[in-house]
Symmetry: C2
Subunit: 334 residues, 2 copies
């Protein structure tokens, strides 16, 4: 079965490119409110479930013990641009755990926010693990290990007690695989677990409301949502969809991107969780689909409608700043 | 009608992402040898038809008058990485026309080959129009204008005599639009013309054989093919599909990428032209599809089979160098 086309790139009066995908919107009980495409086959939600992966950090009491701030908790669920504030915050988390960047096992890449990468290079500096877009999540794992008196060494392995807790949380929240097919390795070297979009959406409905969660987990979820709403810059960065959307909507929308075209969200006031994937892995289309879901489902003020516009018809400009194309929603979302 | 899935990304034992697309293989008369998906609807071939756009530079006698080398002609049909040799060659072309980088109207971006961009930044230098991946093509337009005593100013406009000749050549080779819907603006600010994949494939069959072309055009096409085969580095650059494939196959394969998932090729020995597009614009899948077409159609030696392997199952590694996924062909091409 092929998924419906949900986004199109328009150039010179015709459709240049097409993106198909699947979207699940669920309530906390697992009732599907909206379903487009196949929402039952397993999908790797990748970084879009960092909020689930961070639950043990809160539930264990580690975050309180180390006195983690909203900014630090937001960074623990982030895919950040490697901008100076992201790097400093990750370093501060590690310092609270009595560690430094040398304990991170996420690998090294230059800041994904290009001006930050350029500034680094122009200053004659080298990228380090703190610049990795997952350094906040990994700093969270190190905090969890150290605050609970466990050696963080090889915390990225599925057999490490910290990673077992992390994988367990993802499994409980979304029905994700724990072993075998459907468990892969993520860009930052930790296991990534496949789950049906319907399961991930249900998990985010629970994450956004606390329904069907134990009291400690519900409290942890609320704390993460509050932290992300208070510090949306820490969740992504400059000119990033997650940061911009949470800046507009505050606690009304928790939203998180994942590699290969995944996006997840929670709309607490409606009790809905959302999980979507652009089949081809395209972030531009996944962002547009999420903007379309927000526009379709969430009651919007005039200001919010206005603010959402640029995400609903993103303009492509060329190297001379000339508009050359536009993305637009297609099919049911149009 | 939706196009077939032709490429898949595998991670953790399951399919993570899927790419659909269309492929046309034609002979010079327009007989379709292989057709997957819809090859009749208009597609922007983008930079994949730079070889057609360069025909007037050769046919006019401008290239001979300015004594352009193989390297310079190869650069005129390139989408290059902005590496030092690309930049120097573009500058040399402009100097032969009595001009410099100030005449280029392609816009400025940093070298797309990341180590070249980093080296530039570390040296405290700024990117200029010569680093634009289209600077060779634009230098060719400037050479054409100057060698034929026409002012290159605003050569990027559809109404400029040089651009009229360029657009005319693309139209004649592929049936591409000249006005109205199906004419857009490319990343480098010149018009980009949509044509059916079947038409583009037929054009490349003629480009690869000279059949159905006038003697001047056939000579120009042969010159471009020889130049690209002699200087494949100039057509793209380090770690680039076009360069690597033409390095392996020499004059047996002319291949050229275009933005938004387009790939074109000519296999002169078979008399075939190939045009394909990955629906979602993904380059990784377009490259894989082209590798699949080469493997399927071209008689290969053992060495060539071996050399083609890494293009047929490209490995994805993460920031720690761990293999996390593999692309593979799907459907008819598998």
């Amino acid at each position: 079965m092929s998924n419906p086309i949900l986004a199109e790139l328009i150039r010179g009066g015709i459709v240049e490119s097409r993106h198909s995908g699947a979207i699940a919107v669920s309530d906390p009980e697992g009732r599907i409110v909206l379903s487009l495409g196949d929402v039952t086959r397993p999908v790797f939600p990748r970084s879009a479930v960092k909020a689930f992966q961070a639950l043990p950090l809160l539930e264990s009491g580690a975050a309180d013990k180390l006195d983690l701030t909203d900014a630090e908790i937001a960074l623990a669920v982030s895919s950040h641009g490697g901008e100076p504030r992201h790097v400093e915050t990750a370093a501060a988390m590690l310092a609270k755990a009595g560690r430094d960047a040398g304990t991170l096992e996420c690998g090294v890449h230059a800041p994904s926010f290009r001006p930050a990468a350029w500034a680094l290079l122009r200053a004659g500096e080298e990228p380090c693990a703190l610049h990795n877009n997952c350094s906040g999540k990994h700093a969270g794992f190190v905090c969890l290990a150290c605050a609970t008196d466990r050696d963080p060494h090889r915390y990225i392995e599925a057999t490490h007690p910290v990673m077992r807790e992390v994988m367990g949380a993802v499994n409980e929240m979304s029905g994700a695989a724990l072993t075998g097919d459907g468990v892969g390795i993520d860009g930052c070297s930790i296991p990534t677990q496949a789950a049906p979009l319907a399961g991930v959406a249900r998990g985010f409905a629970r994450f956004g409301t606390g329904a069907y969660l134990g009291p400690e987990r519900a409290k942890a979820a609320a704390r993460i949502r509050r932290a992300a709403a208070a510090e949306p810059f820490l969740v992504a960065g400059t000119k990033r969809f997650c940061t911009d959307i949470m800046t507009i909507f505050g606690e009304r929308v928790f939203v998180k991107t994942g590699a290969e075209g995944v996006f997840c969200a929670a709309f607490p006031e409606l009790g809905y969780g959302i999980a979507l994937k652009c089949d081809d892995g395209g972030t531009r289309a996944a962002e547009l689909m999420m903007a379309g879901v927000i526009a379709k489902l969430l009651p919007l003020s005039e200001d919010e409608t206005e603010a959402l516009k640029r995400f609903l018809e993103p303009v492509q400009k060329n190297w001379n700043g000339i508009e050359v194309g536009r993305l637009r929603l297609a099919g049911v979302l149009a």
